[in-house]
């Protein structure tokens, strides 16, 4: 009695509903993941605060290499004090030593595109880049 057109419509609506439920499911998974991440971060932070010599106090007490400091002061002019940018230029603050080092080496070799960074990176030896990466890496939880 029902036309094939009716069955086609039913099929389409079921497919759409399936996809909508799938999206909801995905959203919930993402929400749970975000919560888990927040919780883990909180755990790490409180552990660092409670345990003597935890991540936070280790970063604070470590002697800053004077040459590393002088080299890194140059970066803050464009990337913000302590690498915390207030504008369009990316922040360095919070990035790990290994990330900063590999990014600078990629700018230096030209492997990574930039407007001005490769012109800057070419001004430093690999050892100086390491010192800069270590200086800013102190602010990161991932050393």
């Amino acid at each position: 009695m029902f036309s094939s057109r009716f069955y086609t419509l039913v099929y389409i609506s079921r497919t759409v509903r399936f996809f909508i439920s799938f999206i909801h499911f995905n959203k919930e998974i993402l929400f749970m993941a975000a919560n888990l991440r927040l919780w883990l971060t909180a755990c790490v932070l409180s552990a660092a605060a409670i345990i003597p010599g935890g991540a936070a106090s280790a970063a604070g007490s470590s002697e800053v290499n004077p040459r590393g400091l002088v080299l890194s002061l140059s970066c803050s002019s464009c990337h913000g004090t302590d690498g915390k940018s207030v504008g369009l230029i990316p922040s360095i603050y919070g990035k790990s030593t290994s990330y900063i080092e590999s990014a600078m080496l990629a700018f230096k070799s030209g492997a990574r595109y930039s407007t001005v960074m490769s012109r800057h990176a070419k001004g430093y030896t690999d050892a100086e880049i390491r010192l800069i990466a270590e200086y800013f890496g102190r602010f990161s939880r991932n050393k």
Partner: protein, 432 residues
């Protein structure tokens, strides 16, 4: 003109070993400021150099008492003042204050001028009569003008009819008002100074941004640049940009082709060059420059009119215990720019922290980055990384340099966006 200081190899190793003259005095038992309990640093001048030095001294060592002497409550930055002339920014947008330095970094900011430095007593006298004692002094007075270099010119004329607009503030407003009241079809004459001078690309960015304004509002107008020099900063990139964005509007006349100004008449608004006379509706003459007034009065300058310094700590080679940073200092091949001054302020601050602890300062690393806007979506940049060698402060070979001549429209647009990001961070790193 090559301003790099030649240092003999022996002197160079001595520099690196001792860092500064008075640190070596301290090591050999002379009563030294370095090992005293008191750590008082006075900073004269609250521009890019002085403000950055004051902030970073407090940030790096909170046990140092820092006093900043600056007469202006609001400092207008020269960077982005050309954007004001184009109507792309307001004077308020380029205003910086000392609130954060006072409240967050506990810098003692005194709104007054320093009138005298006594290097033997280690004191600074202020206009209001107050006398400040220091263990280390930082002098960052920017530039002063050689008013007698162009016959017919004077400071009074600059404040009324022929603005330089090379110290941002009322001078910028004066030039802006003149441009806004100029007729369509008028002629703007820009006269850049001879080297060395503050912000080498400044006059040419200014020509670009005045052209941006005139093209939109007064398209029959022309800009004539009368230059004593035969080449200028980012020349190829500027000329390429002018041809693309403002064809036929900007004429640059070099020194050998009659660009050198020999006389100026503010009443008839006439500029006389070696080749003849030019009348302008607006004349922006930027006089030749020298170190700021207080640097001369304190005997910190040499025959060049600028201040020789130890490049490790920017300590004066004439008066130990006094550091000169920014435009007034002779910093090898570094250009005189706000950005360079801020970089020097931080290097001097880090060195002074070490010296006051009786330690040797680290070998310096300095940087410069300057953006010039040619049109709203069109900016070019120059970068430089500098370090100390036996030849003084030199640019690291293979580093730095300009936006490439073949940069595409996307890259030039990106550079224009980064110019804004650059401004926001450099002023925040200095005053914020």
């Amino acid at each position: 003109m090559n301003m790099s200081q030649k240092i003999s190899r022996r002197d160079f190793s001595k520099l690196l070993l001792t860092g500064a003259t008075s640190a070596s005095l301290g090591l050999f038992g002379t009563p030294s400021r370095a090992f005293g309990a008191s750590k008082r640093v006075v900073v004269i001048g609250g521009g890019f150099g002085g403000a950055a030095a004051a902030k970073y001294l407090r940030k790096l060592d909170p046990s140092i008492a820092v006093t900043l002497v600056e007469p202006k409550a609001v400092f207008h930055t020269c960077p982005f003042s050309n954007w004001v002339l184009a109507g792309l920014r307001t004077m308020n947008d380029i205003s910086q204050t000392y609130t954060v330095l006072k409240n967050k970094y506990q810098v003692n900011v005194i709104a007054d001028s320093a009138v005298a430095i006594d290097s033997t007593r280690s004191t600074v006298k202020l206009k209001n009569g107050m006398v400040l004692s220091y263990d280390r002094l930082i002098v960052s007075p920017g530039i002063d003008f050689k008013w007698d270099a162009v016959p017919g010119h004077s400071e009074a004329l600059a404040n009324t009819r022929i603005p330089h607009a090379y110290q941002a503030g009322p001078q910028t407003t004066l030039l802006l008002n003149q441009l806004q009241s100029m007729r369509n079809g008028g002629k703007v004459i820009i006269c850049p100074p001879a080297n060395p001078f503050r912000c080498p690309p400044g006059p040419y960015e200014r020509a670009s941004l005045i052209a941006h304004y005139l093209k939109a509002k007064k398209p029959l107008s022309k800009i004539l640049i009368l230059d004593p020099k035969d080449k200028f900063s980012k020349q190829g990139l500027f000329k390429q940009g002018w041809e693309k964005l403002y064809p036929g509007m900007i004429e640059w006349r070099s020194g050998v082709t009659g660009g050198k100004v020999v006389k100026i008449d503010g009443t008839t608004m006439t500029v006389t060059t070696e080749f003849g006379e030019e009348k302008g509706d607006v004349i922006n003459l930027i006089p030749p420059q020298k170190a700021g007034k207080i640097a001369f009065e304190a005997g910190l300058t040499d025959a060049s009119g600028w201040c020789p310094v130890n490049p490790v700590s920017f300590e004066s080679t004439i008066h130990p215990g006094i550091h000169v940073i920014g435009d007034s200092s002779i910093a090898g091949v570094m250009p005189k720019s706000g950005y360079a001054a801020s970089s020097q302020g931080k290097v001097a601050a880090a060195a002074i922290v070490r010296l006051l602890q009786g330690k040797v300062p680290a070998s310096p690393s300095l940087v410069n980055t300057c953006y010039s806007l040619i049109g709203t979506d069109y900016a070019i940049s120059v970068a430089g990384v500098y370090k100390l060698t036996a030849d003084g402060v030199v640019e690291i070979p293979g580093s730095g340099g300009l936006t490439p001549m073949n940069a595409d429209a996307d890259q030039l647009r990106e550079e224009a966006s980064f110019a804004v990001g650059w401004y926001n961070n450099i002023v925040h790193d200095t005053w914020g």
